[in-house]
Symmetry: C2
Amino acid sequence: MTIPALSRLSLNQITTEKHSLQETVDACAREGVGWLGAWRHKIEPAATAAKVIQNAGLRVSSLCRGGFFPAATAQERKQRIEDNLRAIDEAATLNAGLLVLVCGPAPDRDLVGARAMVVDGLGQLVDHASKSGVRLGIEPLHPMYTAERSVVVTLQQANEIAALFSAATVGVVVDVYHVWWDPQVYVEIARAGRRIFAFHVSDWMVPTNSLLMSRGMMGQGVIEIRRLRQAVEEAGYDGPIEVEIFNEEVWRIPPQQVIQKVRECYLKAV
Amino acid sequence: MTIPALSRLSLNQITTEKHSLQETVDACAREGVGWLGAWRHKIEPAATAAKVIQNAGLRVSSLCRGGFFPAATAQERKQRIEDNLRAIDEAATLNAGLLVLVCGPAPDRDLVGARAMVVDGLGQLVDHASKSGVRLGIEPLHPMYTAERSVVVTLQQANEIAALFSAATVGVVVDVYHVWWDPQVYVEIARAGRRIFAFHVSDWMVPTNSLLMSRGMMGQGVIEIRRLRQAVEEAGYDGPIEVEIFNEEVWRIPPQQVIQKVRECYLKAV
């Protein structure tokens, strides 16, 4: 298994959450990182952000995040759809090509009902996404986020939802942190095939003290990252590899140092 | 959906972790709880514990826990098997009828290899368990415990492993806290059928601040407990319903008060 090309490395912007877009893209440019995974709250307004990113010579691998479809009332669900349509427009402005969907938690205890709302919501985005040249990537989250972030929690489930729509527009995001534990992960990666629209890496630390903020750099934890990369590549994925690390310790480090560390871990463990 | 019979309520001993076996069974007897889910570290020696439990008029619904099969060396794996054989003997002494298996984490990053060690380990227990009149219940844990406690993390996976052995001896433990998030949970409960050897309840709190110690009383969280109970009953399970709550706040309350609260939540939300 060869090391991945450095040209595929993408820095997901949450990894340098405490820094501005300008600081992050400048640091990426200095360190030879050519891709950025952008977050909506860091790129307002999108037209200005697009110029900042382009001027630094970077491209946008994806925009995080749309989704959050389930809600208690039809009115709220409609508002979520409108927000998703705006997110598609922002992705198009950034020339991102991909909007990452975190599907949202249930408004009550009914997971089955909430999952139906996800399918319904997606159906209302597909036409606009297709016309805008933006693909929609369903990201199954780790099951520990079911109650607060996503009722879509396995790659099997994401694959089954994606299969209801055109493969040109709807696919899945494989994030090793979210899927590594799954006994079906290799079967489902193979099944996803060309529907794999993105591949995200970080690591699961032992011990994990926080559900949200304990992600490690690649190689610091227990995930077989290289084996998972090999699997997505065998399935046909050869696009950017996004490094996405939610970790307050990492957030305290200047962006250039973070990116140097990201690059080192990428070459060593991805 | 009717409320469950009080005669099926079992107190898992971890719920009163800070108290002795004597204190716990006395409180159960006073409150009309007829079943105890025992833990190995609380019942040494087993022959004495068996008398304490019997004298209080209780029966043992299960013994926690065996398992922890994967290990780095053959020598270590052998020691784990020996310990599991002792656990089977202890379960027999307690007249428990069921040993709950938490299968253990991987000794390295290789989950596939570790899962094979689980199957191998189980195979070495089945004869002794069968002869001892003790059934083995594979408990899939929540995927957030993959790195530190169990490489068996879905009911599908537990069902597939159980199916390799006699249905008289090897089955599964359905704990709502571990399985509620799973899109396949109702399919897999139906598939488990008579292999369901135990049903555990507690609740998933929002927010969840600790991976281990955040379990709530039934009704305090977001799990559709009653729907899951209905599903296991439709699959054929009519045995004890164990209340198992890892929560340091609960641990600070005197056992009788805990049991009163358990009974109230059991009648209201299970």
